[in-house]
Subunit: 442 residues, 2 copies
């Protein structure tokens, strides 16, 4: 491991090509057809690479899961095709895709990902998820199994895939014209994996990549998810809302790794984080307000939810003005939503209810709405408090958000010495400081 | 249909990156690591596009199926990754990949191929095969089902995939910033496909490509295969050894299309054809002899097989000299192998047994070993006799074979007016003269 432990790691969530705020596609700076425009997707990846971001992260659910009548889709058309397109147009940045352990055959998955790892020269990661979305099960003509069964299968699929990856010996690709030996068949062996859920014989006829085989990631905080991460994952995608929550979860994951005979540092936690960057905090807020104005009805719903979060019916007040001093003291954070204390704090600081919403208090990740320095400060605070090893950043709109992050936030982080100035190596494994692995870990 | 029916169509078999002669990788002009070098693969595709070839064709079997101890693999590491890589680096050439109807889930396949069709701007074809290789079944923890079951499932998988392709209405991708309508949900409907072998609900959230959806191909000459082609295929990959055999098979396929309510011309037959091109026939033969010399044992086996083909034990003669006149008259073609008459013919013309082998009489396609004009003559004769609509060409070694074909054979064919001088349109469907189709044909 040659990475600097005092430096955070950053991966970029590509979402569906737009960004994590599903109505930002209506902004003037947005490109309305980003969903189907692979050129644009590749450009964003190249920009992220210019900023030395460690990897691109592609979440996925094989189903239509949100209201694309008015919002942009949650996921790309197809993560494998997107990753391949980006692989051919970049040289350093990692490519981490989400592929379900439930709705893929191990042989197909092993083949796709190892091939992609070979042609990208060792830059691929696989985010292993079990998928619990009913609409996905419907697409595969089945139902969602119990968590126990899903994770039982997940362990087997990962074992099978890693076994297949290792079935072609590391030195079996001879291709020596003089001797006429193309491959050393003595080093290419069947795996004959026989699990309860999946079976596969192999071998998979694909040589190792420069990093041997893809890196595993995991997402999903259940007990079963943590065990899976402890056993297999080198990166975990996490969704905490507070530093304390994040630190606690990170410790649990590190313990799980040790319990499985690994070093705690072999797991990197990437905390989801959203942002809107502008030259001033006011401009950033104005942009968020502009997006909120696209859907007044949704804003009304969110105001009602915000009211529940802070224990006060805000809709009876002027939602565009700071709350009266007397009212501010009455606010009380709802313990059922970990985002509530932040909402109370902002209202008490004098943000109006609408601006409090615009600050992203109901988003599915912590949000910074402000300048590049505000973003850098946030990342530094979380990182240096031991809450996380890095971040999975989600711009509100990728088209300009990635550019601002790369051109404005990255230099600040680099200057502060908490983000690398260049890639440590040529592979994802090297850039994340991970130990070598080929095949199933013994 | 705007293509000229007096012009042949040509697709290039990419094999594993080397060529159809599995020992040509040892030639000085070969690149020994072509299997893993996607740059080289893409370069060949670009060259094929320069020659206005209609498409690249990627056969596939998801298993290790030949002796890569000494031969190059039969297939690419992964056709989907290869097609995507090529799609991003070309503009006109079609991309036809083989994907098993047995060992893929319809939703995954529909998603991969439609996404690739969208990002390639309508250049994708799917060669539907049922896969009857035991080693493949082993990789998926199962056994090979009966032909009836395999084709039963194939019909269902194609129906399901085409239904999913059609589940996003052709005009549903609104993405209108002003109105805020991203998609017209009224045009995006579940398919609720319920077959005996596969089930899927959909919808698949992917808009149409410039050609609507991928073009279907078929390979496999059984009665069941012909029915599948007649119902669904716009292209058929065929392996006849004689013009008569080819013409007969083409007529059978055209009848099958008509039986399924389609025009006979909606099926294009592509005949497999291998070649070695040099400045003179002697040089071309010398190259083949050089390759044969890499494996004397295999040559001995082939001589024994050739003996059986022509009804005479050739190994007792001088295999490097023309047969004595008296012996030539004793040759008799073995009716069990359709390649036998050609072998007898060459030996009677005075080719030595070794040169007869070098002429490719035991190859799995008809072979021309000679000059560019010899190749053009062969293609013209087959095409103009009504044996085929075009060819699936297989160079002995892709690294220089594609170049010679594009730079030397294509201009001859163009000059003779039997090959197009430019692409007719921008999509595979347009370039093959196929009618429009979106979703499952009613």
């Amino acid at each position: 491991m040659t990475t600097n432990q005092n430096q955070m790691k950053i991966v970029l969530q590509m979402v569906s090509g737009y960004g994590g705020e599903f109505k930002t596609w209506r902004l003037p700076e947005a490109k309305a057809d980003a969903y189907t425009d692979m050129d644009l997707y590749v450009e964003m990846a190249q920009l992220a690479e210019k900023g030395k971001l460690h990897a691109l992260f592609m979440a996925d659910t094989p189903a239509l899961v949100n209201n694309i009548g008015v919002d942009t889709p949650m996921h790309s058309m197809d993560p494998l095709i997107a990753m391949t397109s980006v692989a051919r147009a970049t040289k350093h940045i990692g490519l981490v895709g989400t592929f379900s352990t439930t709705f893929n055959e191990p042989y197909n998955l092993a083949r796709h990902l190892k091939t992609l790892d070979v042609i990208s020269h060792g830059r691929v990661g696989w985010n292993t998820v079990t998928t619990s979305t009913g609409a996905t099960a419907d697409n595969f003509g089945t139902h969602i199994a119990t968590r126990q069964e899903r994770y039982g299968r997940a362990h087997e699929v990962i074992e099978a895939v890693q076994s297949l990856w290792g079935s072609w010996g590391e030195n079996a690709y001879i291709h020596n014209k003089e001797t006429g030996q193309f491959a050393d068949l003595g080093q290419i062996k069947p795996v004959n994996y026989r699990g309860e859920y999946v079976k596969t014989s192999g071998p998979l006829p694909i040589p190792p990549s420069e990093q041997g085989q893809p890196v595993l990631f995991q997402a999903g905080p259940s007990g079963e998810g943590v065990e899976l991460a402890g056993r297999f994952a080198s990166g975990v995608y996490a969704n905490p809302f507070t530093i304390e929550e994040s630190r606690e979860y990170r410790d649990i994951l590190r313990d799980a790794a040790v319990r499985h005979g690994r070093e705690a540092d072999e797991i990197n936690v990437f905390t989801g984080f959203m942002f809107t960057i502008a030259d001033t905090k006011e401009e950033a807020l104005a942009r968020r307000r502009q997006v909120m104005a696209f859907d007044p009805e949704e804003t009304s719903q969110r105001l009602r939810y915000l009211s529940a979060m802070v224990g006060l019916n805000l809709t009876s007040l002027d939602i565009d003005k700071p709350l009266p001093e007397g009212v501010r003291r009455m606010l009380q954070a709802n313990w059922q939503d970990p985002r509530s204390p932040r909402a109370v704090e902002l209202l008490q600081e004098g943000y109006s209810p609408l601006d409090t919403l615009a600050m992203g208090v109901i988003n599915y990740h912590p949000v910074v709405v402000g300048t590049a320095t505000d973003v850098a400060d946030f990342l530094q605070e979380w990182f240096e408090s031991g809450a996380t090893d890095g971040f999975s950043i989600v711009p509100d709109l990728a088209h300009d958000g990635v550019k601002r992050f790369v051109e404005e936030v990255v230099p600040i982080l680099q200057e502060r010495g908490i983000f690398h100035k260049d890639y440590e190596g040529t592979t994802l494994r090297e850039n994340l400081g991970l130990p070598y692995q080929y095949g199933l870990r013994k």
